[in-house]
Subunit: 223 residues, 4 copies
DNA sequence: CATGAATGAGTGTTCATTCAT
DNA sequence: GATGAATGAACACTCATTCAT
């Protein structure tokens, strides 16, 4: 399964030949079928074997943690990266997204077992922050996503454009920056104590091509 | 090429049969080869045909915009989603990440032509915000990533787990929330006027398994 | 048809694409089908167009020739080479032998129209030599073949191993040598006036491996 | 490989379908690819497997032979025919000439490994004949060719026009005839002891068409 | 008369899967 | 339990052939 994990991550599902998995594992092609009914089952087994343990470990932390919720968030995200992001499991996450269309049941499973558990984890953290008066009132689902999106992005990036990008992306520095940004805000003079204000109204069709908006081209300005 | 785009996005590169592309386009298998040398060239053509125009349109907005940089950011991200995220180009972005390992030259090309141009766009916006006294001093590269990561996440999500997730994710609401979060911060009492403070120090190895940290098991507390 | 001739000779029947023939001829692929029903008919037309005229010319010479039959033979063979061997028709001959199995009717046709006429030509020459007292009595069919074999060999060679052989073969020198050899014989002291003597009896199984002929290994000597 | 040999010889390289080879061998199409990387490799393997052993056997004879060089020549040629000409290897020789243009490396290999070794064999025989006073001084290369050309012709003939010719060609009788002819000469009164005399001068352009030689049409007569 | 876009049967090749040993 | 030889369905790609223009 370790061999399969590496090859699936490196080449994708379709491009991974069972013969390569077998020889990488030092066994014959037929032996694979003694343990897995077919390629699809092998794939599913690899996914489940490598994703769940990491998540389980992560869930243990939260209850025992003492300190500010900002520090807790930082810890959680950094630990996530160290445990999953830096391990081959991050490759699996990417692979799962890439192949989700061809493996709906797997995507369903992953969604239920991993993502929703993950969401509940963050919901608890956010609730802790609000309860202790550290955080503003906030939409828990959206804020959770705003925190997990950079993590998923990091995993995807590592296994897609990262290797061929010109600027190297330092994951841990990025995580630290994101936490600081989301917590403290980018504005020089944020309004303390308030709920986050609603955004300004969008301009009408600002991105349309000129030919599309010739009639009311001045509608593109904000006011 | 429209047929190829749809099928590539729906099934992935390997699982898309040229015969299906042909019949979806209403032509025969051989006809495809009159216009594209092989499957790979078709794929590359689809990618380039559908990604670049969208980006080009996006770059036009920034110069003419008047208003707060917060509003500009909101506009840009929302426009990005309307123009690319809601179009099949978002599917291509996902596909490209999924297949980047098997098409290194395409990934390289996408990185140079799309990502780096995108980065420069955001760098200009952030510089505008800082210059006008709206934003704190900030690491431009990391903040750019913190803003683009949710966008890439949205595209990936839409074409992977989104369709089978229990909670529906409303992209525009998410974008609005992310902008507000990143700008105003999650803290109830952020420090106005200051540079974002450094994060608290991480605890020593908080996520390690007990077997790994047996020597200093109490290291799991914060300090 | 000139284009087809060149390509057929250069690449063989199967490896010649009609599209290449068309573009070499400066017309479109469809145009070829205005003049030839299909690839096979084109091939047959090329063969007939290029082989028969050369042979017809050759037949004209013999009746008017005055001089020794040895000189006549030399003239005929040399003329054959100049007219056919040095022209693309030699390539056709090679091609016809190569493809005879796949075009039995063409081989049949070639056999009747070319080879048998050729045989009759040589039979007349040999009869002339015997009638004039120049040549010994001889088996006409075999001697004809003994004279035409080197010619066919030359044509085959030119279009097969010739281009990659280390020693260059000078066709005209070879023809001259063959005529001299066949006429005068290789022996230092041939027996004038006599019929060619029968060959010595072959040894029993001279080429068998020793393990096969262990019983009478000395049978390898001549008598 | 036996099945491939038969089919290649019978139909040529291009017209032989791997599926036919497989079914002729009693296996499935995929099985062929367990042993040969592709069609080309199968072809090359068939050629090398079937040509070299035959030649190796042939080279053994010459050293042990006692008797006249004329008899030796007869033995060698007859043995060649029995060992190679009558075996499928003769079909391979024909095939190799037919496909030499499409397999230059194979032609090169055959030329070096087979033809040149063959040439050296005959050079030794001719030198023996001259050294023992049996043969006239002669151009070794050309005489070698004059002896091997009928053999190659026989192989070609057998697998091309032979099956559809009206007159049957008896190979062994032909070989015997050629040896006698080349040794004793066709002339009734050859000149003993002498070097073969140079050929009479060729007439000027005797084969040209009338339109080509209109200026000096009388130059076509010999004197 | 000429075109060239379109066709689709055919073939080389791959690889997940099986099973006798 | 393990093997590896064998399978055959599947697919990318080719090219002779057609036909509307």
């Amino acid at each position: 399964m370790a061999a399969a994990l590496n090859l699936f991550v490196a080449r994708g599902y379709a491009a991974t030949r069972l013969e390569d998995v077998a020889s990488a594992a030092g066994v014959s092609k037929g032996t694979v079928y003694l343990y897995f009914a077919n390629k699809e089952e092998l794939f599913k087994a690899v996914v489940q074997e490598n994703l769940l343990p990491a998540l389980a470990e992560g869930e243990a932390l939260i209850d025992t943690f003492e300190g500010s919720t900002e520090a807790l968030l930082h810890e959680i995200l950094m630990g996530w990266w160290e445990l999953i992001g830096e391990s081959p499991a991050s490759g699996l996450t990417k692979l799962l997204m890439a192949e989700s269309g061809n493996f709906p049941d797997l995507a369903q499973y992953y969604n239920e077992e991993v993502i929703e558990r993950c969401d509940r984890l963050f919901a608890r953290i956010l609730a802790r922050g609000v309860a202790q008066g550290e955080f503003r009132e906030t939409d828990v689902d959206l804020t959770t996503l705003a925190l997990t999106a950079p993590m998923l992005f990091l995993m995807m990036w590592k296994h897609s454009f990262g290797p061929c990008a010109s600027k190297v992306l330092e994951p841990k520095a990025f995580i630290t920056h994101v936490v600081a940004l989301v917590l403290h805000g980018l504005l020089r003079n944020p309004v303390p104590g308030a709920v986050i204000p609603p955004p300004p109204p969008l301009t009408a069709q600002p991105w349309r091509t000129p030919s599309d908006v010739n009639g009311d081209a001045n509608g593109g300005t904000k006011s």
